[in-house]
Symmetry: D2
């Protein structure tokens, strides 16, 4: 396999390092127009081939093009790579809007090429454990999903805090719960430069489930925490914990009545807590493996264009709702597929 | 001073205990129609006069009637007490709607009687410290206020989780920021009995400030935390901490540009942290003292009917917005005063 | 049952409250020579009979005398109570030295009276859970027991920090591990008034087990934590945690060799963690119940004179070792029984 | 400057990386007899010169030899390097006994060569901040120093847990308090292979100060915490905290009496807490810089042979005391200088 990584900013070096470690990668090109970035890569990864010519990289002999450039450029670069017969890996969020995502999926399908969208957290040991627990029914029916990702973060110039941080959490939610978001209400504020730096997203589902996402670039404390409430048990995923990232609480409520739910006496129950061991393998290593394996086996990867599209739908809907100060936006409004 | 406490449920005993401890309370009546509650009070507070006759208590010789009954009954009981010339203390939330609150305020004013609304947290040492820090400009301009109050709580039959928990946090916000909420967007879900058990409230202000409140009766972990983001410093109030409840972070962002805010390079800055000592006196003791002092000095108490009314406005607006799945509701829509 | 509580200082009110709550206590006397303490008790517990005459109380009609006076006075008061045919409850530590403890046990046995020593933590839900887990072999063989109890505490005038705090932890250790301490080494310092305010106690056992106790009156942070290391699993009891007081770690080491232990490759293993629900009943309520039941059933209580004696042996040995700056002291040196 | 690193085990790669980053290092040799380790280094640091010939490396053209081999081999390698006119950097602990350390210091002095002992924590931002606070008198007189370093660690075959972990904490203590340890008492247990895996060290000083060190390879939880108690304030250094590593508590005790200390009423006082920002620069980078600068400036480095010797004295004394189950060992007994 020949791989080319385009875009050597914050995330690019991690991609290079992980593709370098894959046995079946025989050629690795690193491409950026910024000479200083190429110089840094040369020092870190002397065996990698450097290029400052994006055009040439996209039309060269690579099998897979890995795109780690700003969001707005995903679509043109990805399109060119696909049209040149390359499989693509695209950083999150997949594209800047739904239409772009749909077009890329169509092109890839017509040419039998793979799109891998880097929803990295889907390959994280703690998230895999969450999925496993939910799938085998440990929590019962999922009643709600609550996520918080706040810290003092570098403000992005091109996107707001939702496009920057929420794709992580939205992709985890979709992995755990499936594609069933129905409508979105988003609120937030732009304290400085016109891009929201604090935002809250509420998602309504078809069944009686609810999700909420809190993202903030301006918090003095760093919190990365999810709560999944189930009818049987409840789970907390705290990514800031060094060791006990997942905790499953045998706690909940019990409805004691025969007279119908409205008259119910709802009581709470506190039980044992269990914190399962979580696989510590670097998520990006597992992602790179999955991407390469899917190409070889001529199948869709676990995080493919459709997954990327679903997240972009939620992001686009959030922007609409933000402008309406929380106005409810149906996901279906956005679908043209 | 002669005081009568009506309603001896969960909170009633705390009220009795604190009024008993005031030197100038010469007579204390405890009233409830439930004989078992009266029996428990007799054991705990043998010196208190018991009564199962609410009518008589409200028309008796008390100077102050303390109302700790379910929200729906606040209005009729408070009205009768006022009309009989009693000052009143009402548990939060003040009333079940804006119209009731406005009527009670009018009656009290026409008869020169005091209304004390029990926004207990305003008398809490940590909240007093927050107010002090904000007032002397330690944080700079307030950019946002973020509150979370979640745990495994007893479901209320008569009100949803917003009416149950949010008055605490909304009253703290108003104490710190003043009355300037402009519009509300609320989202949530009722998983069981028709009353929302999880809710998120966003509040927009006239200036570029934003507040958010997360309340949840169905969380496996107990979180009671506020973050106040300022242009100079940021503050975290964690009520679950035993010792360091307030932390002030000399952290924030800096805008480095002369080319206007949209092109700004926003950078973050991390500095020292400071955790001031907080007064440990029981809030309810200070509240009882303030209530009695205000009556004696013929002045409005710190938490009076107008404060209660403001919170009821926010609650009523939240209900409207909840029904509209986040629809923005202007606070002014509700004001008939 | 007729009960008399002698000594109404810090702990006395808790004893009164808990004996008051026992159905079979028909008479409760509270005795102290300090009039101000009697006055406070009168307000809190109006149904209790007050007395300032200790002599009379010890010779009166009570079945059980509860002794909550300073350590140095335990022996004379307990002796007089026993000689007057009363069962006794004695606060920890049982006596000021081994000889006193032995004599009281002899008197009680000769007169068929019960001695209950208030090792309160033995009735604590978390400790009961620890005992249960160890007894059913969950942890395997116990390799070590490590305890820390430090905070900013009121300095005692009459005893050092070991006599004040360590009885809690030593009694828990003995409850969990049995009576098998063989030798003690203690170190510490008296920064102020001649009584050690920081101390470390190491205990060696007959089998290859080791225990350590850290007590400190001068710590800026409050820590109350025990670690029990087993050959199969390890347990942490953190009393400062509100909810997850006991955590059992399926972690440990594995010895991979057939060439004998000295050449062994010792590797570590990290697995799941489990936090069992713990009974929240107040320990003192269970202690009072056990004390009364044991008398009625004419049997030794769970925490009796022999338990008290064992702890006093360890305390006396600690003092000897402290003077020798860690000199090892055999427990057997102290036994005259 | 030409530098050779001998020993490419766990710590060697960190040394290579940090010396590579120094501008004035013109040649860097990495030496180990294990071919697999050389191969790994080749991949990570392609610009480094590899060697499997230790003899040649020690007699070659390097100015500085960095020794990162097992403790028992420090002395022969260091001696040969010094005799060949090289400055040396030696990992902690400096040598396997006092005599070796003294001989190396003598050789280095006679040849005007530098010994740098890698007490890395002395270059750690949090430790530097502690030193600064103590030196400017923020804490008042130091009353005690309490250290805990426990986790589930890889058992060493060649040394016990004291020699493995305690040098970190002992060197911090000496940096903060100066060289004034007078006597040591150590206790512990070897549960498995004859080397102690849990140990407690108490140190007595000439003035009324006391230090204690707890090290443990078999703890299910990872704790790295120091408490420094002062007459004015107290400090906690928690290395497991991500952000607030140093906390200074304006808490302590007050002695209220004129009748002499033995009758004193010692009361406690709780005040504000302050957590200063700590420099995040990698300690090893600062250490490498100091080592090279000291050579260039022909002066002793901050952590030199004498510092190394002091720690080895404490370690050797600990071993003696361990064998005597806590027997007090005077540091002077060991000095032959």
């Amino acid at each position: 396999m020949k791989v080319a990584v385009v875009g050597l900013g914050y995330w690019g070096p991690n991609l290079l390092r992980n593709f370098l470690a894959q046995q079946d990668v025989e050629q690795l090109i690193a491409c950026d127009t910024r000479e200083d970035r190429l110089k840094v890569m040369k020092q870190k990864f002397p065996s990698v081939i450097l290029s400052n010519d994006c055009e040439k990289t996209l039309t060269g002999n690579s099998d897979l093009v890995v795109i780690a450039t700003p969001v707005a450029t995903h679509y043109p670069i990805a399109k060119k790579a696909l049209l040149n017969g390359k499989h693509i890996w695209v950083e999150k969020p997949f594209t800047a809007n739904v239409a772009e995502a749909e077009e890329l999926i169509e092109i890839a399908e017509s040419k039998n090429l793979n799109i891998f969208v880097d929803h990295t957290f889907i390959y994280n040991g703690a998230v895999i454990k969450m999925k496993e627990l939910v799938d085998k029914g440990e929590l019962g029916n999922i009643l709600y999903f609550d996520s918080e990702r706040i810290n003092l973060g570098l403000f992005q110039r091109d996107v707001n805090v939702i496009w920057d941080l929420a794709p992580h959490d939205l992709s985890i939610m979709q992995y755990i719960l499936g594609f069933k978001a129905k409508a979105i209400s988003a609120n937030g504020i732009a304290n400085f430069n016109g891009k929201e730096n604090i935002a809250h997203i509420s998602i309504y589902f078809e069944d009686n489930c609810f999700a909420h996402f809190h993202v903030n670039w301006l918090s003095p404390v760093k919190i990365r925490r999810m709560i999944v409430g189930g009818s049987k048990k409840m789970l907390v995923y705290d990514d800031m914990e060094n060791f006990e990232k997942i905790k499953v609480y045998d706690s909940g409520i019990e409805i004691k009545t025969t007279e119908g739910i409205h008259e119910a006496l709802v009581q709470y129950r506190i039980g044992d807590m269990f914190s399962p061991k979580v696989n510590q393998t670097e998520a990006l290593a597992l992602g790179a493996r999955e991407c390469l394996d899917a190409i070889k086996e001529n199948r869709q990867p676990l995080t493919n264009g459709y997954d990327g599209l679903e997240i972009v739908k939620l992001l686009e809907a959030s922007d609409k709702s933000l402008k309406g100060m929380g106005r409810i936006v149906e996901i279906e409004e956005l679908v043209h597929f």
